[in-house]
Symmetry: C2
Subunit: 162 residues, 2 copies
């Protein structure tokens, strides 16, 4: 059995990096190598995911040798869902192929104006999933991190400023 | 962006076929070709999915030339989640790689006894998704199908008995 229902690794990376950036002293940008080094991530692949977060308006990228990343807005206004959708897209996992309009039992498009009960159930579950992810922000994740780790990571970022 | 979070087509097929089988006169098995023909599905690929449903104990398969499939239990006791998990497996879409134990910021396993806040949030969303799918049964899907379609499909099954 091939498991299709799978989030990319970038989701974990993006969430950790966003939580890390939330600890950066106000306005300070963090070099990508600092994030990659801190979490032992391949730099080029991390770049791709940070680019996705930037394109989605969650990170602000400062170009140049003194450049790097910072959160584009208050971590209390960035949800886990924002990061998940920025990395893995907004497409729903269930795509109805309308097989009720196929085969010898085919219904006409006119008979299918009401959404199929199966599609309704699958969409409802998707909404429940997204609502759950929307209920937690990056600020919440930071708040749930033990204080000593927060302090240590803040120190790492402060020391990394060139 | 490659969309990874995707259910297999077999989920839609399995749910439609289970709802169809729920309309079969008590005890009557339905040939696979009848299901494949009714929904215009490729027979060999449908066989694979019906086999998954059988292995999961949701369908009962009768072998031989007069064989076919019937539901293995009351449709009110088969949930949408049962079918989804039978087809696509029970693995969670988020697999924590514990990157907090990697890189220059690595925590020790001892410091990671508490589940990472990110993993907690992702698991909670997965539970919400599964609970939502568990709240609807095959009997519910049948009940939400317009009566004239139910009657027509029952007729198809009755006429298909050899």
């Amino acid at each position: 059995m091939i498991q299709l229902m799978k989030l990319s690794q970038g989701v974990e990376w993006g969430l950790h990096c966003a939580a890390m950036l939330a600890l950066s002293p106000a306005g300070a940008v963090v070099r990508r190598e600092v994030l990659a080094g801190h979490y032992g991530l391949p730099d080029a692949y991390l770049a791709k995911h940070l680019h996705s977060l930037t394109r989605a308006g969650l990170l602000h990228a400062v170009p140049g040798p003194k450049g790097g990343y910072r959160l584009a807005r208050d971590p209390a206004r960035i949800t886990v869902l924002d990061v998940v959708e920025a990395i893995d897209g907004v497409d729903k996992p269930f795509v109805c192929q309308e097989i009720r309009q196929q085969g010898s039992g085919a219904l006409t498009p006119d008979q299918c104006k009401r959404t199929c009960a199966i599609n309704v159930v699958m969409n409802r579950a998707d909404v429940a999933w997204r609502n759950s992810l929307r209920a937690t922000t990056i600020a919440d994740l930071v708040a749930r991190t033990p204080a000593w780790i927060r302090d240590r990571n803040s120190g790492v970022l402060t020391n990394s400023v060139r």
